[in-house]
């Protein structure tokens, strides 16, 4: 398909775009061509400049140098609206919708259906429902967006962008909070748009998805364009190497990159392979935390859960199956209305995050924008916040020690930041995520709950983080791992609890399940009801 469009002129062309922020050259002479009727994927490590490029393209930032050509004409989009009027429609990395407005309004705001000059609410709701139904989402569109989990919000953002009859559609990591089924749906929608001749610029960290949909791939590295390739010409390993740096990079990097590439490719295979590396078998371990009948009306049906010392417990399940809710209850972020939690055999009342932290639990939330990052504060301050909270307000951690910790973790997790005093808000999405992970790692918790910790993190970083966490696990830290990426869960967990319909659906030891069988467990549950 890409071949057919090759001959036509590009709809959108970027020439030598540069953009610097104080202390960072985010983009340096980047050029890019988008042809009608193709999916063009932008790949690169965290902080490579992908989001910045998109923001320049859509008028959020003004480039320092360079040109944007739309159908051969130079344009200077001044705002998102301006870009939209030029036929460029965008879904940004951080969901940019209004939580207080209804789902339908979020889709239609700015282009309401009207009757007698006023907004036609009924027809708007109907159209919105239909639109979402095309993506197989059946929800009450008249409720405020804030009612729904991040994934739904993401789908709403995508539906919104589909509504404009745009020539160019830009999606910045739209799939990071979607599960596989939804990704498939999204892709079939995108394929349809491609048929109609739309040019699609797509950003993702998932190699599978890249290959499933792209015609062409542009790799970015350190704010520069590394190269542009036809998807069919570029192997996974090559791609990863190009993102990470020359193949001549250190052996370790290349090796881990390859594992990552391989891991993403063949999930079940590597699960067993990784299993060999795993810690001691689950059965022998001591129980750390035991929850009995833990539940909350309307969110989670009473469930039992046991987490053992030094084990990685995976929580698998579809979107909205209640994983996040379970994690929040364990952490005391929400109050449970049934059940008990005991830690080290003693019953504990975890009624606030403080209690949980005191009991040695850490929780890395899935919603980094609203529940994680304190945007105006520096990387250092964000990083030590939980540790400081635990040691109490009066015992301030000396600045020296803070800096040392921050430097240490910036290095250990490969956080790309101008300095540890940079506000976390100006870091790229993936790097913010790493800082938040570090926030919990410095507290040296006995149990770390990771809710979608690898969301928005590039392949190599993902591998590094999982390696890091696995190593901690071996040293005795327990981990509750929640991820929408089934292969990843299967690969790293010692045990897996599958959740569906907001209750625990079953517990399985490593190796007892593969991807298809998990899906079967979930499906079987559905048949039961």
């Amino acid at each position: 398909m890409a071949m057919t469009t090759k001959s036509s002129a590009p709809v959108l062309e970027l020439r030598g775009i540069s953009k610097a922020f104080t202390g960072v050259q985010a983009l340096n002479g980047v050029s890019l061509k988008l042809y009608p009727g193709e999916v063009h994927t932008l790949m690169g490590q965290n902080g490579a400049g992908k989001s910045t490029l998109i923001k320049v393209l859509t008028g959020v930032y003004t480039p320092d140098h360079g040109q944007i050509l739309l159908a051969g004409q130079a344009i200077q989009p001044q705002s998102t609206l301006d870009a939209q009027n030029h036929g460029i429609s965008t879904v940004y990395q951080e969901v940019n919708l209004c939580p207080n407005l209804s789902v339908a309004e979020n889709i239609f705001i700015g282009r309401y259906p009207r009757k007698f000059g006023r907004i036609d609410w009924a027809s708007m709701a109907k159209q919105a429902s239909e639109l979402l139904e095309r993506m197989q989402i059946r929800i009450d569109v008249t409720l405020p967006l804030a009612h729904y989990p991040l994934a739904i919000q993401q789908m709403v953002a995508i539906s919104r962008s589909l509504l404009v009859s745009a020539k160019v559609l830009i999606l910045d990591e739209p799939t990071s909070s979607l599960d596989e089924k939804e990704v498939d749906l999204l892709f079939s929608v995108l394929r349809g748009l491609r048929e109609q001749g739309m040019a699609i610029l797509f950003v993702t960290h998932f190699l599978d998805q890249t290959y499933a949909i792209s015609d062409r791939i542009t790799v970015m590295r350190n704010g520069e364009r590394e190269g542009e390739y036809l998807a069919s010409d570029l192997s996974r390993v090559e791609l990863v190497n190009k993102m990470v740096g020359a193949p001549a990079a250190t052996e370790a990097t290349a090796a881990s990159a390859q594992t990552a590439a391989a891991g993403d490719g063949t999930a079940t295979g590597s699960a067993t392979a990784a299993g060999a590396l795993g810690s001691a078998s689950a059965g022998r371990l001591q129980s750390f935390l035991r929850a009995v009948g833990l539940g909350r009306r309307g969110a989670l049906q009473p469930m039992d859960l046991e987490i053992r010392e030094g084990e990685m417990l995976g929580l698998a399940g579809l979107l909205g199956s209640g994983r996040t809710e379970a994690a929040r209850l364990l952490f005391g972020a929400d109050k449970s209305d049934s059940g008990t939690i005991s830690i080290d055999g003693k019953e504990r009342n975890l009624s606030s995050p403080r209690d949980a932290i005191a009991a040695g639990i850490g929780f890395c939330s899935e919603d980094r924008k609203h529940e994680g990052a304190i945007l105006d504060l520096s990387v250092r301050e964000n990083l030590i916040l939980a540790l400081q909270a635990r040691s109490g307000i009066l015992r301030a951690i000396p600045l020296k020690r803070q800096q040392q910790l921050a430097e240490e973790y910036v290095k250990a997790l490969g956080i790309k930041t101008a300095s540890i005093e940079t506000p976390i808000g100006s870091l790229s999405g993936g790097n913010q995520q790493k800082v938040l992970l570090a926030r919990w790692l410095v507290t040296d918790p006995k149990l770390l709950i990771l809710d979608e910790p690898t969301r928005g993190i590039d392949v190599r970083a993902k591998q590094e983080i999982m390696d890091y966490v696995t190593a901690l696990c071996k040293k005795g830290m327990s981990i509750l791992f929640i991820s929408s990426e089934l292969p990843e869960v299967l690969r790293v967990s010692d045990r897996i609890v599958v959740m569906r319909d907001r209750k625990a659906g079953g517990e399985y030891a490593r190796g007892a399940l593969d991807e298809t069988s998990v899906l079967q467990v979930i499906a079987a549950g559905d048949q039961h009801e």
């Binding site: 606030s352 995050p353 939330s365 939980a386 635990r390």
Partner: protein
């Protein structure tokens, strides 16, 4: 480099105001020793600004948590009234000779006044942190009722104090400088140390920027917010003592009237955003000095009272606009050569 310092612009605004005084008001910078202490316009400004600075310090922390406290004036009235009533003293005529008698030991009066102020803060804090009322309405309640309470204590009378030691607080001198300045300095230093040497500053900012994330990171958000309101009221309480001591009487209806607005103005002029989060304590102090200098300048210039407000508002507009980053960009675009080198 210092051009980028957050204090640069408030300081520059203050400097320009003083420059105007230097040019237009003869003898503005004249200082002399009178009765063994310094005497002059600058001393007046500092002395007058003291209660405002105190209120601004407290308000800064409240604003940093995304809150606001519009009951500061009422708290000033309450604490001042309580102190004045307890210290009190009455004038009795003894054979045509006036004689002053004090009522309660001064330290008890001061403690009671501060206690009343802290109670006010606890009330506000409980409403905001405990009940989750919106700060402006929560503190509106005390703003309306507080002055009423103070008047209730005094039966609507102005309570005149006849007790010499009490006057020291607001109009005494130490080492040739107004004693109130020492109080302000002490409060400022204690607050700054508290923010620096403990994690209070970090926590307050975190709560102000993202309360949800702060809670999930294990902060006691409610306790912090409660504390901040108590602190603000305590500052207001000291300001109340200072004001009553300075005019040797407590005027429940007028003491600290609209002080909250000036305090909020001072905080913003000092570069702290009302949206919460990052704050600048020293900036608030400078903001308060800007306001007082401006008021004093208006008096000194002999402007007719009708134009006071217009002048004040225009100056505030000018300072705010000149402080905005957007204005700087526009300015640079308009005069590329003029400022290019500096920035």
């Amino acid at each position: 480099m210092f051009l980028h310092h957050p204090l640069f612009r408030p300081l520059a605004a203050l400097a320009i105001l003083l420059l105007i005084d230097l040019i237009l008001v003869p003898g503005f910078f004249h200082l002399e020793i009178k009765d063994g202490h310094l005497y002059g316009s600058l001393i007046d400004i500092a002395n007058r600004a003291a209660p405002l600075i105190l209120a601004a310090i407290g308000m800064t922390l409240v604003i940093a948590t995304r809150g606001i406290d519009i009951s500061v004036g009422a708290t000033v009235a309450i604490s001042g009234t309580v102190a004045a009533m307890l210290v009190g003293g009455t004038m009795v005529m003894n054979n045509g000779v006036p004689e002053y008698v004090a009522n309660t030991p001064m330290w008890i009066a001061l403690a009671a006044a501060m206690g009343a102020a802290v109670l006010c803060g606890a009330w506000n804090g409980a409403l905001v942190a405990g009940l989750g009322l919106q700060p402006i309405v929560a503190t509106l309640i005390l703003m309306v009722a507080g002055r009423g309470l103070a008047q209730l204590f005094t039966d609507g009378q102005i309570i005149t104090v006849y007790y010499q030691p009490y006057f020291f607080l607001g109009s005494g001198y130490l080492l040739g400088l107004p004693f109130s300045l020492f109080i302000v300095a002490a409060v400022f230093i204690v607050t700054a140390l508290l923010l620096r040497k403990t994690a209070l500053g970090l926590f307050i900012q975190s709560v102000g920027i993202n309360p949800v994330a702060a809670r999930l990171a294990g902060l006691k958000t409610a306790v912090l917010i409660f504390f901040v309101y108590v602190f603000c009221s305590a500052c207001a309480g000291i300001a109340g003592l200072m004001i009553t001591s300075n005019i040797k009487s407590a005027d429940a209806n007028n003491a600290g009237l609209l002080l909250e607005l000036d305090a909020i103005l001072a905080v913003t002029l000092g570069g702290t955003s009302l949206a919460g989060g990052k704050f600048n304590l020293a900036g608030s102090v400078i903001g308060a000095l800007i306001i007082q200098t401006l008021t004093y300048t208006i008096y000194s210039l002999g402007l007719p009272p009708e134009v006071n407000m217009v002048v004040k508002s225009v100056v505030v507009f000018v300072i705010c606009v000149s402080q905005s980053a957007e204005f700087k960009t526009m300015w640079r675009r308009a005069f590329p050569g003029a400022r290019g080198g500096k920035a």
